[in-house]
Point group: C2
Chain length 364, copies 2
């Protein structure tokens, strides 16, 4: 079992990672000052609920907790104002008060949605995350919570730190191969932006991680969270440094939008985006070895490194220009300047970006 303390002054909290931890949730809640006087409200989705919900509820009730739960449909469409309102209605009807604790049991969608409920129910109640995907290691640090607007993702949200993150690596065994690879893309990203030694470790432990070896997975999630925490603790409200976490996300978000959410998983899209950023670095005069290293580790994890040919270049460019990071026509990019170090480069010409997009399609 590993414990990582996210240092954010009075909003500090622990991330506890290990194999078979789910049944420790009652004790962990109690250790963090969330006793049985506060009602628990578990928010999960219909994919996760059949595996873990009834067991978790039983374990909590046995320790004297009052437990209610709300199950949303699986997938991104639940991260909407409509489901947010449905959950709020249920919370009010249940009579939940300010002592209540919202628990997110699931991946990033459930975490974001439940977190926004916790951030705004009665102006904020306590929040606990129980992630069940690898990708969620990324969203379990940073306090970003949100729902989507039909016109754009994550436009409605808040910063709301959890009191506790409990990460049971055993819950990851139900993930598909593709979800595992996609989730590990964010782990690799944390190596690329911050820590070459960790990237090397990821390279050496690729087989173990892809097989979900509990010990390797526990360390990878721990170190991924730790890197993100190092960045976030220096920039809690996203004023500057935090932007480096977006390596690969500018192209990645555009690909997700153009492909239609679901065709490319998030990690797959940012995998391609990270190769694009490395290509951009090369064009800007940084060593070509960055491209080779980025591409080889992603390929080792079976992640895509080229843009699917049927995606329209104009549409990809248009999606990037709409991205909130390109206000006022300026294009900013996070680019790797060496392995384990990135910088934000401003004033990138759209023509250059377009040539890289074309290139990433042509080389398939």
């Amino acid at each position: 079992m590993r414990e990582l303390w996210i240092e954010l002054g009075e909003r500090s909290y622990p991330i506890i990672i290990g194999d078979g931890l789910l049944n420790r949730l009652p004790q962990a809640l109690s250790d963090r000052g969330m006793g049985t006087d506060g009602d628990l409200f578990i928010i999960t989705d219909e994919n996760i609920a059949p595996h873990y919900l009834s067991g978790l509820e039983a374990a909590l009730k046995e320790q004297g907790y009052t437990v209610n739960s709300f199950v949303v449909p699986g997938g991104e469409s639940s991260k909407s104002l409509k489901w947010y309102e449905n959950i709020m209605t249920e919370a009010i009807q249940l009579g939940l008060d300010r002592k209540s604790v919202v628990i997110a049991l699931g991946g990033g969608v459930v975490g974001d949605l439940a977190g926004f409920v916790a951030a705004t129910y009665m102006r904020g109640v306590r929040f606990v995350q129980v992630p069940t995907t690898i990708l969620a290691h990324d969203s379990s640090v940073g306090g970003k919570v949100a729902v989507n607007h039909p016109l754009a993702k994550n436009m409605i949200g808040a910063f709301h730190q959890p009191e506790l993150v409990l990460y049971d690596t055993a819950t990851l065994l139900t993930l598909s191969d593709r979800e595992i690879r996609s989730g590990l893309a964010e782990v690799i990203k944390h190596g690329l932006i911050w820590d070459e030694a960790f990237l090397n470790w990821c390279d050496e432990h690729a087989d173990a991680l892809l097989k979900l070896d509990a010990e390797s997975l526990s360390y990878a999630l721990y170190r991924g969270c730790e890197v993100k925490a190092s960045v976030v603790s220096q920039d809690e409200k996203e004023a500057g440094l935090r932007a480096i976490l977006n390596l690969g996300h500018t192209i990645g978000h555009a690909l997700e939008a153009v492909a239609g959410y679901g065709e490319l998983l998030h990690g797959e899209a940012i995998s391609i985006g990270m190769v694009g950023s490395a290509r951009l670095a090369e064009e800007l005069g940084y060593p070509a070895t960055i491209v080779e290293r980025t591409q080889s580790i992603l390929e080792r994890y079976g992640l895509p490194v080229r843009i699917p040919k049927h995606l329209d270049t104009d549409a990809i460019m248009a999606a990037m220009m709409r991205d909130k990071k390109f206000k006022s026509g300026q294009m900013n990019f996070v680019v790797p300047v060496e392995i384990g170090k990135v910088e934000i480069q401003t004033g990138i010409s759209p023509t250059l970006v377009r040539s890289i997009v074309d290139d990433l399609k042509g080389e398939v």
Copy 2:
């Protein structure tokens, strides 16, 4: 012109109060670091817009600001998730980004709604309040923002401090007599809970305040904000002390709910509630002079001090028991223990409260 600095660490902000200040908004924005690189988004209602919106927009545009506005219907019904979503849609379509500033031009409803938009648009943008009612002096301190849920008021919200509050007492001249009296009830409350000398001043200046004498009004708003700020700065997130601001609100909210919103204005309802709290204090052994003093100053301002006979006692009691302050069946009340000082009393018997409600109806 008076300036009061609300001290909340890095979230500190000034409240500027004076006669004819509206045209100083461009300068005040600039002084607070909100330059023309951030788009302004004014949220107001259809009662206020005809008086001030076009003039304010023109003054801001003249100084180089990009200004957009959104007009909601007047009244409490605009403080809904539906209008919140409409405003979010407009903000996204306008392409507002994180540098944008949301300006609330109006009373408490507009302030709460616009504040919740500012708290959650792209996870939070800057917020400025331009209150146009006396009552809004109360909501301009404390950072509480919210929308209503059909099942209960203010259930969905956040804490989001403004960067600036600009209070032009000239905008109060369009208020009706009843709105003026109702607004002054919260001013009097601040005297009752915190400052006997200020209560005496309110007594002496009743005629001037009711006539909206600019100098008296400016001081009353200043001191009212200052009292509230003293309480809030010791308890920003409403953990304890801040509850004393609810003097009169427990009975008051129940009366508003039972009468149907609109029959009793908020200040009228809490006026009756404050007399009820004083009666409760008397029953608990505190001097009867508290009741006399409370009642006489409220009567002096033409505020109601008795519960309208047609309101059903059972319904009033039921509304109070539903109130979030009475979880677990315990009744807590803010009671005046002397003039200018209140305490939170727990374990009040519902039977005693009921006898006071009956009493307040019977003595009409």
